[in-house]
């Protein structure tokens, strides 16, 4: 019977490969799911004195959208965010990540601002605290300040429908 072993081992391997074709080796799950959103206190774009931190959103279900003015995919995502803001679905905070050329304010003035606040993470340190590796990335945070979901990449209408809406409903948004 041991003559069938190589074939069996191979079949198992093929099974894994078949599953693997549907996975993305670069998509890394966030270790923050179920953990409190890391604290920060950053100045806000467009206002010299104001600061923002996640505690400001306590009691609400909200999205933290990490974006940058130089990020092409963020431009693609922007209209979707504008739509969400118009519908008042859920408050969106836009973390301005590594905006060295200081273009955020002008860009938002030009294209519209879907965010309730735009904390300015110039050094990228807050991004590191959240495990950000690129833009756009969006976190869903619940009323108690716990991160419940992370989406890497732009939010499209399908992504919103399939991933975000069920989650938000679950959290009672």
């Amino acid at each position: 019977m041991k003559r069938w072993i190589p074939l069996i081992l191979f079949a198992v391997l093929v099974g894994f490969f078949a599953k693997g074709l549907f996975l993305n080796p670069r998509e890394v799950p966030s270790p923050f799911i179920g953990k409190p959103a890391p604290a920060f206190s950053l100045p806000v774009v467009g206002s010299a004195a104001q600061t923002f931190g996640p505690t400001d959103m306590k009691g609400k279900v909200w999205l933290l959208n990490v974006w940058a003015p130089w990020c092409v995919s963020c431009r693609q995502e922007h209209p979707v965010l504008m739509q969400l803001a118009r519908e008042r679905a859920v408050p969106i905070v836009g973390l301005n990540w590594k905006d060295k050329d200081r273009e955020a304010a002008q860009l938002l003035a030009q294209n519209g601002n879907p965010y309730v606040a735009v904390p300015d993470d110039l050094s990228g340190k807050t991004g590191i605290d959240y495990g950000v590796t690129g833009t756009p990335e969006t976190y869903v945070i619940d009323r108690d300040g716990i991160i419940r979901m992370k989406h890497v990449g732009p939010i499209t209408p399908e992504v919103w429908e399939k991933k975000f809406e069920p989650k938000l409903k679950e959290l009672g948004a």
């Binding site: 003559r3 069938w4 894994f16 693997g20 074709l21 080796p25």
Partner: protein, 693 residues
């Protein structure tokens, strides 16, 4: 890329366009820009591939049916079909190369991977730089091996040749179909862009010119061993003669694969700018696994040839080695693993290759399970015999191969099971591979000196005890003369010296009985050279891994730094442009004890088409060390101060020399008299006898 830069590039490309008068007129917007002379060549190439597919079908189906039925006419189709397939694939290849050389950007592959300013030699190598082009190279190389088998197989029984070529034809069908259905290199792009997107600068090195073809010669070459194994299973006939026939083909493929892997490693060392030469990247592993299995195979074949033992095992190993080659092809193109080396990935293509893999490998393993028990296995041997040593060699090499496979696939398996994502990198592989290989390297010293069937352990111990003592003592002493106690260095030195000493003892023993060096068989010379080469390579590896030094400094014009007794003085940079890049070329003067030795000129390049920066290290090669200088970033506005890295790599070239000996040894062994006599005998008039099924 910022819009101004893109615009500037476009302007530059257009300007270049009007200068390049070979095939273009200055384009007006929207106007078609290909001329009549290049119009049909890609279609000709495409058509040639289709014809090759038809010939592959003939090569596969007819001879296999013929061999099953004993029909000589059908079997005789194999040789001309294989040769015809090769000719048409060469034509297709020539068409693609031509499209690259004349900058025919209406061919999508050319537009994606080439650039008008790319030097001609790289435009040619761009033919295999992409997924589609490299697949075309794959089938060309497979057809080449089929042709070689068709020519050098006069001494083989007709049904065996028919089956071997038939199986190779089946593999060709799969790959050519894959090419035509999902990866057509002659896909048109109309309207053609004004210029191409350029070849990745990392590939613009002469390592690119020989590494892929040699690698393919190796890993595709194992298809011959695979085909021989299938032929043996199909015919039910498996004897020592079978092993003797398939051995030289396997050894040559192994030698080419060794060459391909070493070239890749050397190229990475020169190109990547930080002096590393092996990263256990999934694609590197994809070529290393067939190498490990292939090494086990050539040793297992020795037992089957000489003693008729391990038949079923050798067949399984032949199937496994080529299966690993196919697996490698899948891993690199399907997107299931993340690698610097992977081609642009596409799950649809991945699914096709996986299906093909399942059919070929699954089919061969079913055939194995069905037919292998029927093989009558021979040979009894004792605990301390050459056979036992070679079996140990196989066990360890396969355990090592298993470890590499495990590490490479574990992240995928965990992800597929929903257990999270991890990375498995060099720390893992180095930690498991070295301890696994150490016993194999020790046994390598003993094995060749042990007799077949049975030998006396006390005798061997007596013969080898001095060699063992010298190796161990030198292993411990050498690090002390350098930097002090170092267990890894000790291990490496001891094993390398042990192997070298036993190689010398091997020669001494042969010569003791009256033979002369020149009259020793090539197979013996091949073995000794290959083992010696391995030892020398390990010596180099041990020295460089344990004793390399580096400095990472900030240098202004006139600044100097010292490393390993050398003084490096930075004289600033000058502008220097290449055919498709702009560069800042640094001047570093190297001296020792006040005496100037030579000047090194590292470059920091920005490639015109893509804006990609690249560092081109300056290396001074010598027998005893490499001095390696690379420019980092300019640290001030006027680029007067630079971050410079200086490396001292002791004896690194011994690794490449050692590998060269292994490769030469392999080729030498494959050309042993007993393989050539068989061929010659057949060419005499009496040798034209026809052999039935």
């Amino acid at each position: 890329m910022p819009p101004e830069a893109a615009h500037a590039l476009e302007q530059a490309a257009k300007a270049q366009y009007t200068r390049d008068s070979r095939t273009r007129r200055a384009p007006a917007d929207g106007q078609c820009t290909y001329t009549e002379e290049t119009h049909m060549i890609p279609e000709l190439g495409h058509f040639a591939i289709i014809l090759a597919l038809l010939l592959a079908l003939a090569q596969a189906v007819l001879p296999l049916v013929g061999a099953q039925r004993g029909n000589l006419t059908l079997m005789a189709v194999a040789r001309p079909a294989a040769q015809g397939q090769f000719v048409f694939l060469l034509i297709a290849y020539a068409c693609l190369a031509y499209s690259f050389l004349v900058n025919d950007f209406t061919v999508e592959n050319v537009a994606r991977n080439s650039f008008s300013q790319l030097p001609e030699v790289y435009r040619f190598t761009a033919t295999w730089g992409s997924h589609e082009g490299s697949l075309l190279l794959w089938v060309v190389v497979l057809a080449f091996w089929s042709t070689a088998v068709s020519v050098f197989s006069r001494h083989l029984p007709d049904d065996m040749v028919a089956r071997v070529l038939g199986v190779m034809g089946l593999i060709s069908i799969g790959f050519i179909a894959f090419l035509l259905l999902t990866s057509n290199p002659f896909e048109r792009l109309i309207p053609a862009p004004p210029d191409g997107r350029d070849m990745n600068p990392l590939l613009q090195d002469w390592g690119m010119i020989i590494h892929p073809p040699m690698l393919y010669m190796g890993y595709v070459g194992f298809a011959v061993a695979f085909a021989f194994a299938i032929a043996a299973l199909l015919s039910g006939r498996m004897d020592a003669a079978w092993a003797r026939w398939s051995r030289p083909w396997t050894t040559v493929a192994w030698a080419f694969l060794t060459l391909g892997i070493v070239l890749g490693s050397w190229w990475a060392y020169r190109e990547l700018g930080w002096g590393g030469w092996w990263f256990w990247d999934p694609t590197e592993n994809a070529s290393f696994m067939p190498w490990l299995a292939g090494t086990a195979l050539i040793h297992s074949l020795a037992v089957t040839e000489k003693r008729g033992a391990f038949k079923a095992w050798t067949v399984l190993l032949a199937l496994t080695t080529f299966s690993l080659s196919l697996l490698g092809t899948f891993l690199v193109r399907s997107g299931v693993l993340s690698s610097v080396h992977a081609f642009a990935t596409d799950p649809a293509r991945g699914a096709f290759i996986l299906g093909f893999l399942a059919v070929v490998i699954g089919g061969s393993l079913i055939l194995y399970a069905w037919r292998a028990p029927k093989m009558i296995t021979g040979g009894l041997f004792g605990w301390f015999s050459r056979e036992a040593m070679l079996l140990a060699n196989n066990v360890i090499l396969l355990a090592a191969m298993g470890a590499v496979l495990l590490g490479t696939l574990y992240p995928l398996v965990m992800d597929a099971l929903g257990l999270g994502k991890i990375s498995v990198g060099p720390p893992y592989f180095n930690a498991v591979f070295v301890p696994l290989m150490a016993p194999a390297l020790f046994l390598l010293g003993v094995g060749p000196l042990v007799r077949w069937k049975g030998d006396s352990l006390p005798d061997i111990v007596t013969r080898l005890k001095w060699a063992l003592a010298v190796s161990v003592v030198t292993g411990f002493a050498l690090p002390f003369t350098l930097e002090g106690f170092n267990p890894w260095a000790t291990l490496g030195f001891a094993l390398a010296i042990w192997i070298i000493l036993t190689v010398v003892i091997g020669f001494r023993d042969r010569l003791k009985h009256g033979a002369r060096l020149a009259s020793l068989p090539r197979a013996f010379w091949g073995m000794q050279l290959a083992h010696f080469g391995l030892a020398w390579g390990i010596l180099g590896m041990t020295l460089v891994a344990n004793y390399e030094q580096e400095r990472d400094v900030r240098m202004n014009v006139g600044d100097y730094t010292t490393l390993a007794g050398y003084t490096f003085t930075f004289r600033g940079t000058t502008e220097h442009d290449g055919p498709n890049y702009r560069a800042a070329r640094g001047t570093v003067e190297v001296s020792r004890d006040g005496k100037p030795l030579y000047t090194l000129r590292p470059e920091k390049r920005i490639y015109n088409a893509s804006g990609t920066p690249m560092t081109e290290a300056a290396v001074r090669y010598s027998l005893t060390s490499d001095i390696y200088v690379s420019l980092g970033e300019p640290l001030d506005e006027e680029a007067k101060t630079w971050a410079v890295r200086v490396y001292y790599k002791p004896f690194i070239n011994w690794m490449w020399f050692g590998a060269a000996f292994m490769i030469v040894g392999g080729f030498l062994a494959a050309s042993d008299r007993r393989y050539r006599i068989a061929v010659r005998r057949q060419e005499s008039p009496a040798g034209a006898a026809v052999q039935g099924a």
